[in-house]
Every structure is written in C-alpha cells, then in structure tokens.
C-alpha cells in the first residue's frame, strides 16, 4: 500500500506486529490506555546495591526473548551498553531485543553478540558505521525499528515497546537508587531519554561509577523506579561523553548556510519578542546560534525558551539573558553540563515531555522555530537523515520528526552538494521526516520555501536571500553532479522507519 508520503509499504512485514501506514502528521488518533510497569515492593532496610552486573542480570529475571534498554547520553564515550551485553552473553541468554535510545560507533563492540544470536532484534533512533551496516544487512531475525525520540517515548508509554529490563548508566547514584547526570566523573548532564525507560520498564538497574551515600540531590530519576544498583569502575569515557565547547565552524559554506537560515528566521514573521527556538548540534546550526544572537541583540528581542540538544552557544545566550529558559533532553558539551547543574533556568526534561506526540502536550508543540540538518531532501521536502548515498543506515532520526511537526517554522539546512553527490533530489532514498512538516530548505546556493507555506514565501521576499523553487535547487545540484541512479534494493526489509505516531513512514530494504 502507498502511504501518505508516496512510499510502498507492504501490508504485512514479518517481525512487525502491526503495520499502519503513515497518513499525515496528526492523522492517527490513539485509543486505549498507557502501559504500566509491574508493581514493585521494597521492604525497609533491604539492599539494592549488588556486587556485579551478572548479579543484577540474575536479580532482574532477564530471560531469553526479553527486551533490554539503554540510554545514549554517554554518546561515543558509552561503556555501559557494551559491558552489560557482554555480561548477558556470558550468561548464555539469547534472542533479546535491544532497545537503546540510540547507538553510537563505540557500540560496534556488540556486533559479535548480534552475530551469535544474543541480540536478534534492535529498536533504536539510529546507528552508524559497522552497526549501521549490520542493521541494513537484513541478517537480524526481525526488521530494525527506527523511531524518533518522541516516537520512542510514545511507544514505551503506550506499550508498543515494552522494556523488561532497563540498564541505566548513572553518573551519580545513591545507595537507594536516586540518580542524576550532573555529578561524578562521567557526568553527562540531562538524563532525559533514560527517564522514560526508568518509569516504564519492569525492572530498572542503575550502573554507576559514582555511588554516593543516601540521599543524592538533585534527583533526576527517583529511587521509586530503581530496583538494583551496580557500582563499576567506569561507565564511560569523559572525552567521548562531552567535548569541550564546540568551536564555531570556520567552513565558509556552513557559515553561508547558517547566515541564510538565520536571515530566513529574521524575516519569517516568527522572530518576535518571546519567540522560542531549537538549534541542532551540527556545524551550520552552531554557526546559526552566533548569527541569531547578533540579530536578537540588534533587534533587542529575547526568546522565551530554548530547546535541545543543548550546546555551549545556547548556554551563552541563556547566561546573557537572550533566552529566558532552556529545556534540555541531552547535553553535547561541558559548558552545557555545567549549566544544567548550576542554572535554575536550565531545566532537565524527559523525552516524553520533549516530543511524545501522544501525551497531554510535548514542548515541541510550543516551539516557534527549529533548525534541522539533513542528509538528503527531495522536491516534496521529504527529509532523509538515516541512510547514506549507498542506502546504508548511518545516522539517527533523533528529534527530527518531532520538532519538524511541532514547530511553527521548521528549517532544514543541508549543503546542496556533498563531494560529487546532489543532496536535493527527486526522491530521497528513505523518508524520515515528511515534507508537509518541513517549511524551508536552506542550501548554500538557494533557499526554497514549501509551497504549502505561501505566507512564509511572501515574508521572505524582503530578505536578501536567494529564494528559489525546490525544483530549481535540484536542477542546480543535478547540473553539477548529474542525476544519481536510484540505489538498487532487494525485496527484503531490513528496517522500518516509524513516524512519531507509530505509523510507518518508510521501510529500508537491503541493498543489492
């Protein structure tokens, strides 16, 4: 069947419980009730701290075929996922579904355990490198499910993704299971993704390298949700968890894209006192923060809140009073981690609060402007952020779908050409974010406004930026690089890309 973005989705996909095609960003109306974790009991003076991960695996009752989860706040410095899966493998447990909030290159270490059948299915926001290749190969027993951050929170809360045991890397944890992410040698800042796992998993195991006497304060994940605690030597490599302050790009092409994007914001009609903004962590987005700051200072306006994925330029704006409050699901650098620890206007939030489309209202619904990056964009404004030019998984959906749908103005930035490949094309290989939720595409050679947004197009006429139709951008790209042949794929489905509401926006087939 053809879904709402024109993709052919089979009516049945082996390994996927129910296949609902994507219709529109808010077409699907959920019914039913939220899922609840098992009822727990903890008697006075009982001990939660265990000696080893093996003991915690036993205590959690983990068995063949269950689902385990992890968070990716330690990014490419994460030790927890690899060490827990190695311990599970040692115990001979097999057939698990691995459901982390995302996967990084460092997690390539688990590839042998996937090959040995310890893990037979994966549900994640994305993957890179060899893990991405493996997930695209179709070698797993079920298709990988790709979900956005908001979509994952939704799937957990409504029971589509039931977590049997959540293993939560805890930068600081007290002896009764209160956790925060701002203290300890492996501090990562917000624990926003892990909060949902802790609240809904049947069993929750905290793995920490900074066990402190009771009570820990502040509390991000409370004792009421945590069953077991395992102290270990190290849960991550601080160098991989957070960089120093990321440097603003010096790449003139990224700077030009950022300049066009921020000029588009300035003239969009949304650049007003108390507007709200989310910026990504890519080069052009960081540069955009600098230009936006200059424009806000010049016009004398401040933002009511900033959302993210938080980076140092955002923190600077918070500290200078240009942004009143920052809501934070994840931190990318040391200044952001320091800020969430000390600044009351810098608030931690869960992935559900951030972006879950099926709750009483995520904060993305209050967002005015978001700048998002893209791997490929097509003439229907559909965006691919998951597969590369060979059709192999090499990225993550993250909050892309969520913020594009929620924000009043969603701007996608991408170079028109990467090396000798066009990035604006007739059809993206994989649709992640539907074009009807994307308002403006910004490249170094031109800016295209979605025809659905005639109002924006009018507003941008006054800005001195090269406005053109998206087809014109594609033509320029093809003129330079030629029209790429479509990637040859088989019939076998290696992964499905869920829209944030649980419908299928696309499938990823194995490449020939």
């Amino acid at each position: 069947m053809i879904n709402g973005v024109g993709r052919d989705i089979p009516e049945k996909i082996a390994g996927i419980k129910s296949v609902k095609p994507y219709v529109g960003p808010f077409s699907y109306v959920p019914t039913g009730r939220l899922m609840g974790p098992r009822i727990k009991i903890n008697k006075p003076r009982s001990e939660k701290v265990l000696a080893s991960i093996e003991q915690a695996i036993e205590a959690s009752g983990l068995k063949d075929g269950m689902t385990i989860s992890f968070h990716h706040h330690f990014r490419n410095g994460d030790y927890v996922l690899n060490m827990v899966i190695a311990a599970i493998a040692k115990k001979g447990i097999k057939g698990l579904t691995l459901a982390p909030s995302s996967l990084n290159t460092i997690n390539e270490e688990i590839i042998p355990y996937i090959e040995q059948g310890v893990i037979t299915a994966v549900e994640t926001s994305g993957a890179r490198g060899k893990l991405g290749q493996l997930l695209t190969s179709g070698k797993l027993s079920k298709p990988t499910i790709i979900r956005s951050h908001g979509g994952r929170a939704r799937a957990i809360e409504c029971g589509e993704l039931h977590i049997d045991v959540a293993f939560i890397g805890a930068p600081a944890c007290d002896t009764y299971g209160n956790i925060n992410g701002v203290e300890g040698k492996s501090a990562c800042g917000s624990l926003g993704y892990a909060m949902v796992d802790a609240a809904y998993a049947d069993k929750v195991v905290a793995i920490t390298d900074h066990l402190v006497p009771y009570p820990l304060f502040p509390i991000s994940i409370p004792q009421t949700q945590v069953d077991y605690i395992v102290p270990v030597e190290a849960i991550g490599d601080p160098k991989g968890i957070a960089s120093g302050a990321l440097r603003i790009s010096k790449d003139p092409r990224e700077l030009l894209i950022a300049q066009y994007a921020t000029t588009a914001i300035e003239y969009s009609g949304y650049f007003k006192q108390d507007y709200s903004i989310q910026l990504g962590s890519g080069g052009a987005s960081l540069a955009a923060a600098r230009f936006l700051k200059e424009k806000m200072q010049k016009k004398g306006i401040t933002a009511s809140f900033g959302l993210g994925g938080v980076t140092a330029p955002f923190i600077e704006m918070l500290e200078e009073g240009l942004i009143k409050a920052v809501y934070d699901v994840q931190d990318f650098d040391i200044p952001s981690i320091e800020s969430i620890k000390k600044n009351r206007n810098h608030q931690e939030m869960s992935a559900s609060f951030y972006a879950n489309p099926h709750n009483g209202g995520p904060i993305v619904n209050q967002l005015d402007v978001v700048i998002l990056s893209a791997t490929e964009v097509d003439v229907n404004f559909n965006v691919n952020v998951i597969t590369d030019s060979n059709g192999v998984i090499m990225g993550a959906v993250g909050g892309h779908q969520d913020t594009a749908a929620g924000a009043a103005l969603s701007i996608v930035v991408a170079p028109l050409l990467r090396g000798r490949l066009p990035m604006v094309m007739d059809q993206v290989h994989t649709v992640c974010t539907p074009g009807e939720t994307v308002d403006i595409v910004v490249t170094e050679r031109g800016v295209a406004v979605n025809p659905l947004r005639a109002d924006l197009k009018d507003n941008l006429k006054a800005a001195n930026i090269p406005l053109m139709d998206i087809e014109e951008l594609r033509n320029i790209a093809y003129e330079f690089a030629g029209k790429p042949d479509p990637i040859e794929v088989s019939d076998k489905i290696a992964a499905v890309v869920e829209y944030r509401d649980g419908t299928l926006v696309d499938v990823i087939r194995t490449t020939a």
Binding site: K250, P252, R253, L255, L256, Q259, Y260, T263, E266, L417, E444, R445, A462, A463, N464, I465, F480
Partner: protein, 295 residues
Amino acid sequence: MKLRRTMMFVPGNNPGMLINAGIYGADTIIFDLEDSVALSEKDAARHLVYNAMKSINYSCEVAVRINHISTPFGYKDLETILAVKPDLIRLPKAETAADIEEIDEIITAAEIKHGFLPGSINMMAAIETAKGIRNAYSIAAASPRMVALAIGGEDYLADLQTSRTKDGKEFFAGRGQLILAAREAGIHAIDTVFGDVNNEEDFIAETTRIKEMGFDGKSVVNPRQINIVHEIYTPTEKEIDHAQRVIAAYEESLARKSGVVSLNGKMIDIPVVKRAQRTLAYANAVGKNEGGTTL
C-alpha cells in the same frame, strides 16, 4: 557603478573551491594560476580553471591571475584561459607598460580568433616592486583594457627590504603612489591581501585605513573576509542621509538659478556635491536595503 570591493583569490588547483567560488558574494573572483599553485600543478590548475569557467555559470566578475609572461607558463595560461572569455586577466609583478601592451595584443588576437566582442576582456595589473610603483601610471594607462591596479604584498615588501607591521607603515609609500596613479588613469585601486584570516580586528583596521586612503577594494583570501569588507564599504544611514540633503540643496540652487549652494546656512562646494552623488550611486550599487543580508 562597477564595484570591486572584494576580489577573492581562489587556488586554481582546488576543484571544490572552484565549484563554490561564486556563492559567497565577492564582487570579483580571481582564479589563481600563479603563486598558490605549485610548479608541478601548473598544467592541472590551468585545465581545471578552463573547465570550471566553461561549465559553471558564475554570477560575479571572473578574473584569472596568470603567471607572468616571463615565466614558462604565462603564454600557455593566456592561450587556454582566453578561450573561455574571462572578464578580467590579472597580471602579477607588472613593472612596465610594455608588459601590459604585449598582453593586450595577445588578448586582441584571442578576441578575434574566438569571435568575442573586441575590447570585452579587461585587464588589471598587480604591482609588486619599487620599479613597478615608479611606473604605476604608465602601467595603468598602457591599455584601454586596464580597469584596476593592485598592490602586491609579500613580494613588494621583500623588494622594499621591510616586513609587515600592525599599522602598515611599510605600505604607506606604495599605497600612496598606487592610488595616485590609479586615480590619474581613472581606474580602480585595489589593496593587497590580509593573510591572517582569524585576526578580524587587524583586518578591519587595515580595510578601514585603505578605504580612507581612497582604495576601491581589497583582495581577500577567504570568504569569511567578504562581509567584513562589504560592511566597511557600505555607506552608513547617516552618510546617505547627508548626501541626500546635499543633493536636494544642490537641486534647489539649480532651480533658483543660483550659483551658491547652501545647506543649514553653510556654503557647499561643488566637490561636496560630487561626493554626495558618488555616495548615493554607491549606496544604490551595493543594493543597500533595510536590514537585509548584504553578502
């Protein structure tokens, strides 16, 4: 009014830079076949620039800096590049009018051969020696194709037996001579590059200084320098406002058939009127529009 506020050098042997050279808003891009290209890369660069100019539609003025005709590469550069009709040929290390005259003849022949409009390919010369500075006017006036003189950087300082300082004393004599020669010949004067791309402060100071001296623009080596120069060269609201009032007063005096122009009770000389006219023409040329991105 033709603007040459920024002339951006682009190494001729870098395909990625050649492709994107036109997107940053420089008034002129100069594809370089000379100093930024190693001897072993001269053929490749010439070939790349030829093909880039043939296939890419650049929306700004395109110049090519050839190797001097006294090197083994200069004539080959001209033969190849003239076939794709550059807007401008930039000769490095110009010392005499004879250099210019010889290239003028080669261009004339190429225009006939390729069927281009006669006189449609312009020239500029970079002066990089004391001898060149002494001959600056005759170089500037050597051909009707000449549209600009530029002062070279390191070569010139080496010839002068000095080096760069923060406040640019070393360039004082050369810049002064160059601007006089260019103005006498009625062509543009272009300042040398500022290589320390990350030193924005000194770059701004130098650009402000050369604008005050009368230079029409500056050679740049990085797209990040373009906006800075353009901003310095853009007339301020105050300057535009004043110019408008001067012109209004001038027009009023014409209407009154009076030879005396006065604004706010003060007499205004005709040169002031001319400057005001130039300011307004300039503001018009830079497309100064309210708050827009001037790229």
